[in-house]
Amino acid sequence: MSASPNYISQATWLVRKDLSLHFRSKNLLAQVFVFSLLVVLVFNFAFGPAPLSPNNQGRLASSILWMAFAFVGTITLNRSVEIDRTHGGLEAIRLTGIDAGLIYLAKVVSSVIWLTGVQLIITPLALLFSEALDQVSGLAVLRLIAVLSLGTVGFCSVGVTLSTMSGRFGSESLLTVILFPLIFPVIMAGARCTTFILTTNTFGNRFWLTLLVTYGLVFLSSSYLLFEFVIEG
């Protein structure tokens, strides 16, 4: 792999293609937004209107946030693969001779951008409904964005590979079954960091942040190498 201008322009083209397809689909936009809002509300209703200490409010908000992201992420990945599958888009891209690893990286980048956008809308709402919005300072917002972005990279690094495989069978539920056991470390690390940010305004134990970075790097590199085998044939 060389970062030649041709390589970068191909990657940019693929990312733009994915994002325009996402944004063009008003149905997906509405589905993702309403669904994540529903997840936030369902969790709040399920938990009940019990008065919570600020620490527990932070924990509740971070749990709700990461649950919502896991579900919304799965919908996004399924949808993203479905678009390519139904119209033979992936095969067409392969015919142009674009490297498989590049297709993978572009898919990860576009999914991360899309999910980060969704998170920027959902996070304030989740904090609002969990009554944790008052606890967030300006610096905490920046820390929250950093953790959410790292978690999203980790989620998408595995998610893109697995959704490409499960998408071949047109089974949406298959992705959740094979993806969730693999993203437990991301959920654990992301939720722990988010709880620390909401309650103490720090990242907490450095292990969790290191784990998010390590997870992203391990699965980005391994999936980059393996993606060729996923889309061949």
Partner: protein, 217 residues
């Protein structure tokens, strides 16, 4: 050779049962329930070995497209899942007797549960795919799943920092009779794994030949 290994396995299995129940000392507080340890820990080690074999054979399959490597990978994952099930069954029995709770979010037990779910996913994926895709997809999944094993273990360890499991060094502090019984049990379970893996693989090869013969007709 075909009967020698299964025969040796049966002999060593009976020897391990004798050592566990007739030779090894009783633990002072847990008494008979402590005997679970010999099969619980040995099954955990054997399941890790099985999943490692799946990962290695998956890499071999992707590089060489050797159908036997795929067969061994899938069979090894199947056996790993069986041994992980033994760990998850014996673990709560131990937990109830030792810690007075059926389940605790303890790092080793929790990571085994995640591992079990991961490899259950391996078979769901494998059974969903067509024959052409299933080897490739399950090989990719087998590699990615195994890369996740140490990450899951360390993250669960810190997530639930109060481990109820005795530290790993405890095993070297075991009484001599207990240590011998444990090592032989581990060896016996590893041999069972090898014998079953070989039998399943041989059966898979025969089935493959049979399918080819039917296709040729």
């Amino acid at each position: 050779m075909k009967t020698l290994l299964p025969l040796a396995t049966v002999i060593i299995l009976f020897l391990s049962l004798y050592l566990v129940f007739g030779y090894a000392d009783y633990e002072k507080t847990m008494l008979e329930v402590q005997k679970i340890f010999y099969f619980h820990v040995s099954s955990a080690f054997t399941s890790f070995l099985a999943f490692a074999v799946t990962c290695v054979c998956s890499i071999i399959y992707l590089v060489k497209r050797n159908f036997k490597a795929d067969l061994i990978a899938a069979n090894s994952a199947e056996l790993g899942l069986v041994f992980a099930t033994i760990v998850l069954t014996t673990g709560p029995i131990w937990a109830k007797s030792s810690w007075n709770t059926w389940w605790n979010w303890e790092p080793r037990l929790t990571s085994t549960l995640i591992l079990w779910l991961t490899y259950a996913g391996y078979f769901i994926l494998r059974n969903s795919a067509s024959s052409a895709q299933k080897k490739r997809f399950s090989a990719v999944f087998g590699i990615v799943a195994f890369l996740n094993v140490p990450i899951v273990y360390y993250s669960v360890k810190l997530w639930q920092s109060s481990s109820l499991h005795p530290p790993t060094t405890t095993r070297s502090n075991l009484a001599e009779s207990m240590r011998s019984a444990w090592l032989i049990s581990w060896f016996a379970l590893t041999l069972i794994y090898i014998v079953l893996l070989k039998m399943r693989t041989d059966l898979g090869i025969i089935l493959h030949r049979l399918n080819n013969m039917q296709a040729d007709r």
